[in-house]
């Protein structure tokens, strides 16, 4: 597997942030301890929003997981159970 391209990750983060700016929020990339994992945190109005898991499942994970070398996405301060993530994923099919 290739190493993720940091410029691509940053560009993708800007795109996601542009989308989320419609709700007054955004994301920023923060350092990850795993090379194949993108770690981001929510900013603005998204920071403590109850709908963060939905935004993560619908927008953030797909945006980064489609990049070469990225096998996981972590979101600082926002983590759901695998049962909840499966339900969310199923609801989007």
């Amino acid at each position: 597997m290739h190493k993720p391209d940091l410029d691509q990750i940053e560009t993708r983060a800007q795109l996601v942030s542009h989308l989320l700016s419609a709700h007054g929020g955004g994301i920023e990339v923060v350092p990850s301890t795993r090379e194949d994992t993108v770690r981001v945190r929510f900013t603005g109005l998204c920071t403590a929003c109850q709908l963060r898991p939905l935004t993560a499942a619908q927008i953030i994970r797909p945006a980064f997981e489609s990049l070469d070398g990225v096998s996981g996405v972590e979101i600082e301060g926002c983590r759901s159970s695998s049962a909840a993530e499966k339900r969310l994923a199923a609801s989007m099919r």
Binding site: T47, A48, E76, G77, R79, S80, S81, S82, A83, A84
Partner: protein, 343 residues
Amino acid sequence: MVDDTFVFDGVVHVADFSFENLKARPNPEQIDAFISAVRRALGGVVTVTMGDDVSDVAKGSTEANYDVIFRDAPTDMAVVGNLPFFGREGALYKDADWPLTLNYRLAEAHPERCVFAGGAEPTSQSMSETLAAIERQVTELGAKSMKFYPFHWRADDKELGYPMYEKCLELGVNIVQFHYCQPADSSHDVEIQMPNYLQRPARDFPELTFIMHHPSPLYFEETVNIAARFRNIHLLISPIVQLWFERPRLVQKLMGRLLQEVGADKLIYGSEGALAGNPTRYINAVLNLDIPEDLQDGYGYPQITREDKEKILGLNLAALFGIDVEAKKEELAALSEHEHAQA
């Protein structure tokens, strides 16, 4: 250390429960009131009582407290904190600085394991005295953090709170700690213990890291929201971890929610020290914690991982205090060998 997991306890206090150093011998009602106040101040987990003949731990003995926390439990390091409201307000002790002295003694005797946290109470002395007390604890006693107990003032009070935070920054102390969600007694209203009052200081002092002690069912929703929004607010999870033995289901719910919305990176373990008994059981409570499937399914709470537990038990606090964990592990291993050889 447990299975290579570094344990850095975020809250240890030493206190004197004997009559020896009190100004006056208390009556039974006063004893009850004192124990009750201490219990609430320390998150509800005090196991000792007051009397003529109390244990060495309850007398505040440096070595007895050290033994329980570090020799009889796998604690590697601890923040040892002054209890500023006992000394001056009500002037319980002949020496108003007695609580400070006891806690400083432990930190001074074991600097390789202890980080000293000072404390000041702005309502029981003038502001110039309060600031002088902070300065003395930092410059003379080496306090790396200051802790406050806002039972009779608000953390966002620009006359009582802000000068203390400015003083901390001026002295190079960038970690301040607050007792919240755990009211003391009927001398104040419950809402003074709302964590809401941390928001303005956290916004106005972005250089400071705020550690909020005692997230509990009281104002829990506010706590979660505030800790999720403010990067410089971290949560010390006493008394949640201490509730494990009585209310494990509640602990799973509270911890599940914190992991879900605040994140393991901002949670800090704390035992309250030997006054709450041997901390091994609380360390094990964190190590053995799991989030049951029905809570994962019904609330979406994530399972707690080994990595989460390592962060909570020590890595998060080590990062805040700039401790190189691997170097510290080596240093403490050598120290333990030395202690064993001497024993």
